[in-house]
């Protein structure tokens, strides 16, 4: 006996097996991301009021690059459309057209990941520096023209640097949660001791530094959940791209032997892909905008 309904729908449910399978899988994914979102809410609601210099416990906000995030959102949306067009091409029986759209989809996926990596790198080279007098600055280090990643105070001390050059952000990049009063330019300048004005450069003595930390997961619960959720989402993008590339360009022999099943595969892969898009639709406003 062969396994029935791998291609044709079962009469009473109207579904073929893989479609039931993918929807069940997506149901579990809903719970997975749902748990992360509820963690996000709980951590955020429970976060102590965030004021300098308690960088670590504050809920920093407005640190992500919104134009880039918006662009990336568009990339994902477009890829969702192209994967649909690819599927529709198969339904028309047009394999070359299908492949073109699949290639576009996978390019979008890779583009998304590339942009995300750029953003990650941007965070890994972005620092919060708290001075012993209580003031704090954020900015990029400038060590002989390079912008190093993942440094800490220990790194600076180990390298025996007397002082470090910092391109500080003015006003500094931490913003208070929405609804709070935002710092004005002047206040920020006053806080950084009158330095700056535009993207100021500052020489900071190692001896003055109380804390130096890149924007990495352990810097605070915001970063922790931002990196965890976007990383997990990125893994989904990567996984989806690999599977789709495999189906479209390696496993396309099935188109000849079993076109219906092949089309179903694309439909199922597409469903997964839309779901990844769907997660991002919530993730984007939650971490970038709110």
């Amino acid at each position: 006996m062969e396994i029935p309904y791998t291609v044709k729908p079962r009469p009473d449910t109207g579904l073929y097996n893989a479609k039931v399978g993918i929807w069940l899988f997506l149901a579990s994914e809903v719970m997975l991301f749902g748990a992360f979102f509820s963690s996000y809410i709980l951590l955020r609601v429970g976060a102590p009021d965030g004021f300098w210099p308690d960088v670590a416990t504050a809920w920093p906000h407005g640190l992500l690059n919104i134009p880039i995030g918006t662009f990336n959102t568009a990339v994902l949306i477009i890829s969702s459309v192209t994967v649909l067009l690819a599927w529709a091409s198969l339904k028309e029986g047009n394999l070359p057209k299908f492949k073109k759209f699949m290639a576009a989809t996978i390019l979008c996926a890779l583009g998304f990941l590339a942009i995300k990596s750029y953003e990650y790198n941007e965070k890994f080279t972005h620092y919060v520096i708290r001075l012993k007098d209580g003031t704090a600055v954020t900015g990029h280090l400038d060590i002989d023209g390079k912008s190093p990643r993942f440094w800490s105070l220990a790194t600076v001390e180990a390298k025996k640097l007397e002082s470090i050059k910092v391109h500080v952000d003015v006003p500094n990049q931490f913003r208070y949660p929405v609804g709070f009063k935002h710092e004005t330019h002047e206040e920020a300048e006053a806080k950084t001791g009158g330095h700056g004005g535009g993207h100021g450069e500052r020489e900071i003595k190692t001896a003055d530094i109380a804390l130096l930390q890149a924007f990495i997961p352990k810097t605070g619960t915001f970063f922790a959940i931002y990196f965890t959720m976007t990383f997990l989402h990125g893994l989904h993008v990567l996984g989806g791209a690999i599977v789709m590339a495999y189906i479209a360009f390696v496993g396309d022999g099935m188109w000849k032997t079993d076109p219906e099943r092949y089309t179903n595969r694309i439909e199922v892969a597409g469903l997964f892909w839309h779901f990844v898009d769907l997660v991002w639709i919530f993730l984007f406003p939650v971490v970038y905008l709110l």
């Binding site: 568009a74 529709a88 597409g270 839309h274």
Partner: protein, 120 residues
């Protein structure tokens, strides 16, 4: 909304599947999603001065976008009963989980909601 128009629409939908012209709807929805994204971003710069309102607006737009993706891209508007059952169950438990966790966090006995232990 009579039954009649409804079934007519469903038929047209079935019919449209084989035609490439049906792809148009994907473009329309795709465009709507892009617009939605831009509106969300713009809304953010619009200082509502209320956390609740900001969050509500952002999530409202996101929900509409989610509806479009799920409904049209994932064809949920014309899915089979079994899928609806699975998703309804999931949605119920999701709401239960998030809701009850947040409720538990909010309903604590007097004085215990202090965030930092060393304050008496």
């Amino acid at each position: 909304m009579s039954d009649h128009t409804h079934s007519g629409a469903a038929e047209a939908h079935e019919h449209g599947h084989d035609h490439a012209g049906h792809n148009k709807i994907y473009f329309v929805i795709g465009a709507a999603l892009l617009v939605g994204t831009i509106v969300t971003v713009l809304a953010r710069y619009w200082e509502f001065n209320s956390v609740a309102l900001t969050v509500a607006v952002a999530l409202f737009i996101a929900s509409i976008k989610a509806f479009l993706v799920a409904g049209y891209f994932m064809h949920l508007l014309s899915e089979k009963k079994m899928i609806y059952l699975v998703l309804a169950t999931t949605a119920a438990f999701l709401v239960g989980m998030v809701g009850l966790i947040l409720w538990s966090d909010a309903d604590q006995p007097r004085g215990s909601t202090q965030k930092i232990h060393y304050v008496p």
